[in-house]
Amino acid sequence: MSENSMRSTSMRSTLGRVRHLGSAKEGVHHWWMQRLTALALVPLVLWFVVSVAGLAGMDYAGALAWIGSPSVAITLVLLIGATFYHAQLGLQVVIEDYIHNEGLKIAALVLVKFAMIILAVASIFAVLKIAFGG
């Protein structure tokens, strides 16, 4: 199959395309958000790795000064949000693929979603606390 025909051929029915929703009842939302957060994470992760590598071994005062500066704090909050959104979406698919017991699967999905939200909120709160001088 040529690449061209792969791009133009739709596997969905006409009615399905109009409704925009597949069997998961949420259409392409999960797929699209996974790609969108991935795209956002490319520059955010590279920025974070280079910054932290350059500041490796920084002391307490240095860490607070770096995290607390407005541009860094804003970028960190964006990084944290995109990271945990992306992680939640990815772990959800892993759970759905490998856990076949319905009860266990739902328990794992709920656990992962709660854990990712708690971690995101805790890290964002920590960044803001430092930024606002608490």
Partner: protein
């Protein structure tokens, strides 16, 4: 025939591992590892907000040889997942499905991930 007794298509283990298939499962494995490893970064930033003693504990662990080993592995997994993720985005856009291209992009991904990981730790060592 009940659902349990239906014949199954050959399972994964009958196939010879290939660069493309091994890299595919590694994308998932590194994704899971990164979700676990990110706990260390959450610990670091929460400790910084909590105060000097908590920060010293986190800093002491992450700066130890064991902490650095984990961080090195984390960096490698991160760079692999990032580069292979970009490879996936090209596939999502409909490019790169030719067998030869898929192998070429696979080797490029491995090379780029290795270089980025080493560069990050050269920055650490220089700093």
């Amino acid at each position: 025939m009940s659902a349990h007794n239906r014949p199954l298509s050959p399972h994964l283990q009958v196939y010879k591992p290939q660069l493309t298939s091994v890299m595919s499962i590694c994308h998932r494995a590194t994704g899971i590892a990164l979700a676990a490893g990110v706990l260390l970064l959450v610990w670091w930033v929460v400790a910084a907000a909590a105060g000097p003693e908590a920060f010293a504990t986190a800093h002491g662990f992450l700066g130890s040889w064991f902490g650095m080993l984990i961080l090195f592995g984390f960096t490698g997994a991160l760079m692999y997942h990032l580069c292979n993720g970009i490879r996936h985005l090209f596939w999502d856009a409909g490019y790169g499905f030719e067998l030869e291209t898929a192998y070429k992009s696979g080797w490029m991904t491995l090379g780029a991930a290795a270089v980025l990981t080493v560069v990050a730790w050269i920055i650490v060592a220089a700093g």
